[in-house]
């Protein structure tokens, strides 16, 4: 990627030189020398263009930022430009220009944008692409790459409710583009398609480019429907040897909890004469006063260190880095440590005609996942229970902890302290490419990349633990003399690509073309084992010591599957005189995962842009580019073999006195399974105004995904199974995005830049094949006691993400639920038919991010607010535990909605649906750049220290711990949780509480 970028920059300057050499005149000349540096840290700017004002003749700066230019003797002003920096004019008297300091800018249209299989200058971009470079990333306590972008890109939603350091972020671009697999954008890291975003350390990233519309993503064909995030990692530059150290330490603590009764409140409530209690006590008072949240949580300390070396000579450049992270979770016994190493190496040979590129990165992450139920139970564990048993009857599992037998109820301290749930993740990424310039303008590139990851999970619940659900393989109760679980999962992806690029200029027309072939192979395999009944807990790691293995009670499963993608693609970009731009691409891609006659699909795209400034000069407007694009992208099915008539083994049966494994179909095969395709039209406007102080982008789009692949109900009979994976309908989405940036104050000492982005999207299941019924996407409230309680539904013709159930209308005089019937009347819930309606939506109507950056001398201050509006949340903590009847065992969730008069069984209604609107001060960072004496003995080039706060405040009416948007329903709490993307907005009980953290960091440059 880097090579092409350099190539294009170079080609452009050469182009300029050739074009403009006509204007050069012969006259007396002089030679001016100088140096160009970055205003931020004084580092040299390599490759900056230096031209005499009014002339197009020029030169470039060398590796140390210095230049020497011969100009006519009457020239006394030089113009210095460079990608990513503002244009600078320098007056020259004599032959020295001194040091020219360039200020980095985001609005510069010469900035290079990374697109699929190449780069473009920003002004040439004709589709919706947002670039975010390292300076703009979120700062502070960052352990996940997705966090860097959270709230920064209009249209890109990134969320992780709760503060579990081992939980991933959900990423959505422009809402849902599919209802099947692949709802998260495709990630491309330095050309490696389908890479894992977290296979790189956040410190190693130079920039991320988000391809938002169908046209820009279409070159990636089958997997581009949910958008593409292209990550470019840091590389070395010629001649400049640098060592950088970044380190930080963070303290994290809980910021918002689920509201529940204190021991005193609970005691008062269960007293026979207490509030809401008629004649009898409602629960047990065990005599203690325990704050369970306090017992299970802590001030979590995390630190991270990044050391990188980069540099190079004429032929070879390198960037090597080592990252170490140690993060504690706020729950006791949780967290992870991770070490990551990365090397980017570029070697040029044959007069730069042949460029080799190698990237190797490896990660080992050791995580203590803990048990998410810790937070669920902390909210509802009887606050009068002591942590440790006071009587033998309370010492249920003989582990010393207080325990009571009940459903989904275990001492949260014991859960986190007694049981282990660890995961080791190993990743190895390797990529190599060679590019050869066959003749001028024509280059051939061959690339091979391999990404492999292995995950090893080890969990144990000892003989002295009491656990009710939430452990692997459904282990419950008093430990079965210990139970050990291990899982080993491996994934390997191999990519082989050839591309041929061609660049040519005919008169005012710049032609840029690429053609390529791509082959990608995926394999996944794994083994899971679970067994209990050990003589001693010490032998937990040794399955041969588990009696269950001998007794046939062990669980052992394994799997292996895979698929292959083959594609041909091509693209032509045309630039007419830097004024009108056209791009067209086509990808023909085939996958093994479809029916025999439906394997191949075509994914075309076309886009165009024009600089309107060439037609009309609008006062104060500097640039105004109108662009439009259309593109078709695809989505793969959720798994392999869906079109095949396959058998799997099942339970045995007695046949003639012998147990024989039975075999039969595992699915209704669908030989007609074909590509799901999304067609998207995007119209956008890029502008800068007021001397480039205001810059902005507005995008409007409309998209339709047809032939949605989904597992729907089918009639059985005649089908073998009651569900089948079929192409069943259409999804339409509409939305707009606005991003504005304004330099409010731009003085020498003081600057203030403010930026805002706004996202709105609306996704409708516009058509559902009648054979699939009237609705899909139900989600169940769950155990205990609320099974068969469906709370979401997606209807044909309606918006995705509806909550569906009864409408609460108050309580009867006897404390029974009143729900609404078909005529809108309030009726008793248990004896009259009430109706279910749509009672909320889980997806936001709009989302916003607002960033502010101030610099004052050496100081800089950055704060970032993020908000989502118009979404509702199902507060399941309340739905399960706010009913006073639970007090017989559980503590009672007590929010403003709590009503002691309620005397009815648990029944779900919109009583438990709340508005989720929120604004969070996501991040505030105060930094100081120390003045460094140039050429100091110690070699220190730069020192920066910063202090950063994360989640400093949250404004919301939501009563649960975290009002963050749940883009999908995460069911289960261990590795292997399933998610239902059609059921957004459900705040599950196992979600961690919201956390706040403070970070102190130091960046050193040598």
């Amino acid at each position: 990627m880097k090579n092409t970028k350099i190539f294009i920059t170079k080609a452009c300057s050469i182009g300029f030189l050739l074009l403009l050499s006509f204007f050069s005149s012969f006259s007396q000349s002089k030679t001016i020398t100088g140096k160009v540096t970055d205003s931020k840290d004084g580092s040299p700017v390599v490759g900056a263009t230096v031209q005499p004002k009014g002339s197009k003749n020029g030169t470039s700066t060398g590796a140390d930022g210095s230049f020497s230019i011969t100009v006519a003797s009457n020239v006394n002003t030089l113009v210095v430009t460079s990608v990513g920096f503002g244009r600078q004019e320098v007056s020259v008297s004599g032959t020295s220009a001194g040091t020219v300091s360039l200020v980095a800018t985001n609005a510069n249209l010469n900035e290079v944008v990374v697109v699929g299989y190449g780069t473009q200058r920003k002004k040439e971009v004709t589709s919706a692409i947002t670039s975010v470079n390292a300076e703009q990333f979120n700062k502070g306590n960052i352990n996940d790459v997705a966090q860097l972008l959270q709230g920064k890109v209009a249209g890109l939603s990134i969320a992780r409710p709760g503060g579990n350091p081992n939980a991933g972020f959900e990423i959505r671009l422009r809402g849902l583009s599919t209802i099947g697999a692949g709802t998260q954008p495709l990630v491309v890291i330095d050309g490696q398609i389908g890479a894992d975003l977290n296979s790189i350390d956040p410190n190693d990233i130079k920039s991320m480019d988000v391809l938002k519309d169908g046209s820009s993503a279409a070159i990636y064909g089958t997997r581009g429907s949910a958008g593409v995030i292209i990550v470019t990692t840091k590389t070395g530059s010629r001649g400049q040897s640098q060592v950088n150290y970044n380190g930080s330490v963070s303290v994290e603590s809980s910021a918002r909890l689920t509201k529940h009764m204190t021991a005193a409140e609970y005691r008062a409530f269960i007293k026979p004469s207490g509030i809401g209690s008629d004649t009898a006590a409602k629960g047990n008072d065990y005599g203690a006063n325990t704050d369970w949240y306090k017992e299970i949580s802590r001030n979590a300390i995390s630190h991270q260190h990044n050391l990188s070396f980069s540099g190079g000579n004429e032929h070879t450049t390198y960037n090597a880095s080592v990252n170490y992270r140690d993060a504690q979770g706020i729950a006791i016994n949780t967290g992870f440590n991770q070490i990551n190493g990365r090397l980017n190496l570029t070697h040029r040979a044959l007069n730069d005609k042949l460029v080799f590129n190698t990237e190797i990165s490896t990660t080992r992450k050791q995580a203590k996942l803990g048990f998410d139920q810790g937070f669920e139970y902390a909210a509802i564990y009887n606050p009068t229970s002591p942590v440790f048993a006071k009587t033998p009857g309370q010492d249920l599992a003989k582990g010393g902890y207080f325990e009571v037998s009940a459903t989904e109820y275990s001492n949260p301290v014991a859960v986190l302290k007694q049981n282990t749930n660890n995961n080791t993740l190993k990743r190895l990424n390797f990529a190599g490419s060679a590019e050869y310039e066959i003749f001028k303008g024509l280059k051939f590139l061959i690339r091979y990349a391999q990404q492999s990851s292995g995950s090893y999970t080890t969990a144990y619940t000892p003989s002295t633990a009491f656990i009710d659900r939430g452990f692997y393989n459904g282990v419950t109760g008093v430990g079965r003399h210990g139970y050990s679980y291990k899982a080993n999962d491996e994934a390997i992806t191999q990519l082989y690509e050839n591309t041929l690029t061609y660049q040519h200029k005919i008169s005012k027309l710049d032609i840029n073309a690429i053609a390529g072939y791509s082959y990608q192979d995926f394999k996944y395999e794994g083994l899971k084992l679970g067994a209990g009944n050990f003589v001693t807990d010490q032998d937990r790691e040794n399955f041969s010591a588990a009696q269950d293995v001998q007794d046939g009670k062990a669980n052992a499963t394994s799997y292996k599957n895979g698929s292959k993608l083959v594609a041909f693609f091509g693209r032509v970009n045309l630039n007419w005189d830097n004024f009108a731009y056209i791009s067209a691409s086509l990808r023909r891609e085939g996958s093994t995962q479809f029916g025999p006659t439906h394997k191949w699909g075509y994914f075309p795209a076309v886009s165009a842009g024009v600089d309107l400034q060439r037609f009309v000069q609008i006062p104060a407007v500097n640039t105004l580019k109108l662009r439009g694009s259309f593109g078709i992208t695809g989505a793969l099915p959720p798994g392999s073999g869906l079109s095949e008539f396959t058998f799997t083994s099942g339970q045995g049966y007695l046949i003639n006195g012998q147990w024989i494994f039975t075999y039969g179909p595992n699915q209704n095969p669908n030989a007609d399974l074909k590509w799901e395709k999304k067609a998207e039209t995007d119209i956008g406007l890029d502008f800068t105004a007021f001397n480039n102080r205001l810059s902005g982008t507005i995008d409007w789009y409309t998209r339709k995904t047809s032939d949605l692949i989904f597992n729907v109900n089918v009639p059985s009979p005649p089908n073998l199974f009651s569900t089948a994976t079929k192409n069943v309908g259409d999804l339409t989405g509409k939305g707009y995005e606005i991003a504005l940036n304004y330099d409010v104050i731009k003085q020498k000492k003081l600057t203030w830049t403010t930026g805002i982005n706004y996202t709105h999207n609306h996704v409708v299941l516009s058509r559902l094949d009648p054979s699939a019924g009237d609705y899909i996407g139900a989600s169940n409230l769950g155990s205990p006691g609320q099974e068969a309680t469906q709370i979401t539904r997606t209807f044909a013709g309606a918006e995705i993400g509806a909550f569906y159930n009864a409408v609460y209308r108050g309580l009867s005089p006897t404390g029974k639920f009143l729900f609404e019937d078909a005529s809108g009347k309030a009726v008793l819930a248990d004896s009259f038919p009430y109706v279910k309606r749509v009672i909320g939506h889980g997806l936001p109507k709009f989302e916003m991010g607002w960033t502010n950056t101030f610099t004052y001398g050496n100081w800089d201050l950055n704060f970032f607010l993020r908000g989502s509006f118009g979404h509702s949340i199902i507060n399941t903590e309340r739905a399960f535990y706010e009913n006073p009847s639970v007090a017989s065992i559980y503590n009672v969730v007590k929010t403003k909605y709590w009503d002691p008069k309620l005397k009815d069984a648990q029944l779900f209604s919109n009583l438990y649906v709340e508005k989720g609107d929120f604004v969070k001060l996501d991040n505030a960072t105060l930094g100081y750049n120390f003045n460094i004496k140039k050429g100091g003995k110690n070699g220190v080039r730069s020192i920066r220290a910063y202090f950063s706060g994360h989640n400093l405040f949250t404004i919301t009416g939501y009563t649960g711990a975290d009002p963050e948007v749940r883009y999908s329903d995460q069911i289960g709490s261990l590795i292997g949780t399933t998610s239902n993307i059609l059921a957004p907005g459900i705040d599950r009980r196992t979600t961690w509480v919201l956390t706040r953290s403070f970070t102190l960091g130091l960046n050193l440059g040598f």
């Binding site: 065990y286 459903t407 059985s716 009979p717 005397k903």
Partner: protein, 544 residues
């Protein structure tokens, strides 16, 4: 020149190498699956195929359809809402109250269970016909019988279900009438009966767990017993004939010990006509231990999981064993019906001790269990005691309330999947069926044949005094005592007209004659909404 040629051929070669790989056959990627059309080549593979039609039956042992639909809707079983447990949107309560809704889960589970079995039979009949070897063809009568039994269950639960009998028909079928389904079941059983193996002794290893002649006859007996409900026409003679085909074989005998039919290793029970051969490793799914026992009982039997504390019996039904008026016989100390469950003097029917788990509970080491989470209002307090008394159906039934279903004997070191085999058709039931058909045919509950059959069971299994005379009500009560929890009660109560009356926590159903043959529409379940949604050719049952 030479180097240029080399370069071009290198580039060209690489391109061609890449481009040539465009094969997208999926078969090489199906590592952990078997290609369906390749399966069935050996005898072992054929029996493995046939086994799939049976392995579906594991569902009978759980709480998803078979037991709760046939039992919780009656006076025999109850799943009270115990505070936060077993509320589940009210569907357990609705079973008890007969207010089941079209989107309740259990009827849908039952539908899927039956049709999953039926479509598997259809598929296998087609496959085995195509394979066309003596071995494969020999399985076909067996599969037809099994399919008929699945239809018998559907006929009983839903009445007007679609008859899908041909694997090659792909249009979603419309409903058939209850009569049409009945006719199909009858004709299939009659046609296949003579083609099935006829065991000459019990146990019969060759057919254990599978269809044989007597299984087909037992199903016919049950079909005819309820024929009037299904079709409007009585079939007492046919019912008696089918029973006699079993009785006269002489290979089944009434076990001297009632519990022998239900113990952990009951596979040799001489009463077992068709049992599902559950095993905690090889054939899992019989979860009664989890469904009925309370959390702390994990310690009683050293179970490897914590039970769910759900299913129980009602105090009234429990009382039908201990009340000397209902059930005359030797008297003794049994657990009484008061909230505290103090012991009282009552009939010592051996079947009460066999069928229920009641009273103080102990650990496997013999220590009295103490329940620190006991409901404060429960008069038993922390000493852990099951009492037949249940304070309320919902929302806050005490967690220790209700006598538990101990019929399939629990044993030490049990897992959540019991080893006890579940007899769908049991000899004692066939004797009671014959007795009832005889009494009804002669319109005389004191018919000597009927009375003798009932008393044989009473004396031998219950150890109680024989009836001197019988009424419909005493016969039904006796039937209940014998076949408790064996999933026949719903059918029985409907036949005796008591299903819609008030009992236990169930108030009388509103009278209507919306159902087929003018019976109450509640006597068949609604066709599940999800099925109507998936198959537009289906029509809802009347009254829903």
């Amino acid at each position: 020149m030479k180097s240029k040629f080399l370069k071009i051929s290198l580039v060209g070669g690489l391109l061609i190498a890449g481009l040539s790989c465009t094969k997208l056959d999926e078969a090489p990627y199906l590592y952990d699956k078997v290609t369906g059309d390749q399966f069935g080549k050996t005898d072992l593979e054929v029996s493995s195929l046939v086994g799939r039609a049976y392995s579906n039956l594991a569902g009978i042992g759980g709480n998803n359809h078979y037991n709760p639909l046939n039992e919780v809707t009656t006076d025999e079983e109850i799943v009270p809402t115990r505070g936060p447990d077993w509320g589940d949107g009210g569907h357990w309560v609705r079973l008890k109250l007969h207010t089941y809704k079209v989107d309740d889960p259990l009827p849908n589970n039952a539908w899927n269970f039956c049709y999953s079995g039926i479509t598997t039979c259809n598929r296998l009949i087609a496959t085995l016909t195509t394979l066309n070897t003596p071995t494969t063809l020999a399985y076909i009568p067996e599969l037809r019988t099994l399919r008929a039994i699945y239809y018998f269950w559907l006929l009983d639960w839903f009445g007007n279900v679609p008859l899908s009998i041909d694997f090659n028909t792909t249009t979603p079928p419309a409903n058939s009438t209850r009569k049409q389904v009945y006719d199909f079941v009858e004709s299939e059983l009659i046609a296949t009966s003579p083609l099935l193996k006829k065991p000459t002794g019990i146990p019969d290893v060759a057919t254990y767990g599978r269809m044989n002649y007597y299984v087909a006859q037992a199903c016919l007996a049950k079909l005819y017993l309820n024929a009037e409900l299904y079709t409007g026409a009585q079939q007492w003679d046919k019912c008696i004939a089918a029973c006699n085909n079993i009785v006269n074989s002489g290979i089944f005998i009434l076990t001297p010990n009632y519990v022998d039919n239900f113990v952990q290793n009951n596979q040799n029970s001489k009463e077992s006509i068709w049992a599902i051969p559950f095993d905690h490793v090889k054939f899992t799914g019989f979860n009664m231990v989890m469904m009925t026992l309370s959390y702390l009982n994990q310690n009683t039997y050293n179970i490897n999981a914590q039970p769910w504390n759900g299913f129980a019996t009602t105090a009234e039904f429990y009382n039908s064993y201990i009340d000397p008026a209902q059930n005359p016989g030797p008297q003794g100390r049994v657990i009484g019906l008061s909230p505290k469950g103090d012991s009282v003097t009552g009939t010592l029917d051996k079947r009460a001790a066999a069928n229920f788990l009641v009273g103080p509970q102990f650990s496997s080491a013999g220590a009295r269990l103490s329940d620190d989470g006991a409901d404060v209002t429960d008069p038993d307090g922390k000493p852990f005691t099951f009492t037949p008394y249940i304070n309320e159906l919902q929302p806050a039934a005490w967690r220790q309330s209700g006598a538990r279903i101990g019929k399939w004997q629990f044993y030490l070191g049990e897992t959540s999947d019991m080893d006890n085999d579940f007899a769908v058709f049991r000899y004692a039931d066939i004797l009671l069926t014959k007795a009832e058909a005889t009494a009804r045919k002669n319109s005389n509950w004191n018919d000597p044949v009927a009375l003798a059959l009932v008393n044989q069971i009473r004396v031998q299994h219950g150890g109680v005094d024989p009836f001197v005379s019988m009424t419909a009500a005493t016969f039904l009560a006796e039937r209940g005592r014998e076949t408790f929890a064996e999933a026949w009660r719903r059918q029985d109560m409907i036949r005796f007209g008591t299903y819609n009356t008030a009992y236990g926590f169930h108030g009388a159903d509103p009278a209507d004659n919306l159902g087929p043959n003018n019976i109450n529409h509640l006597n068949i379940f609604p066709i599940p909404a999800i099925q109507l949604n998936a198959n537009k050719n289906l029509k809802q049952n009347p009254g829903y």
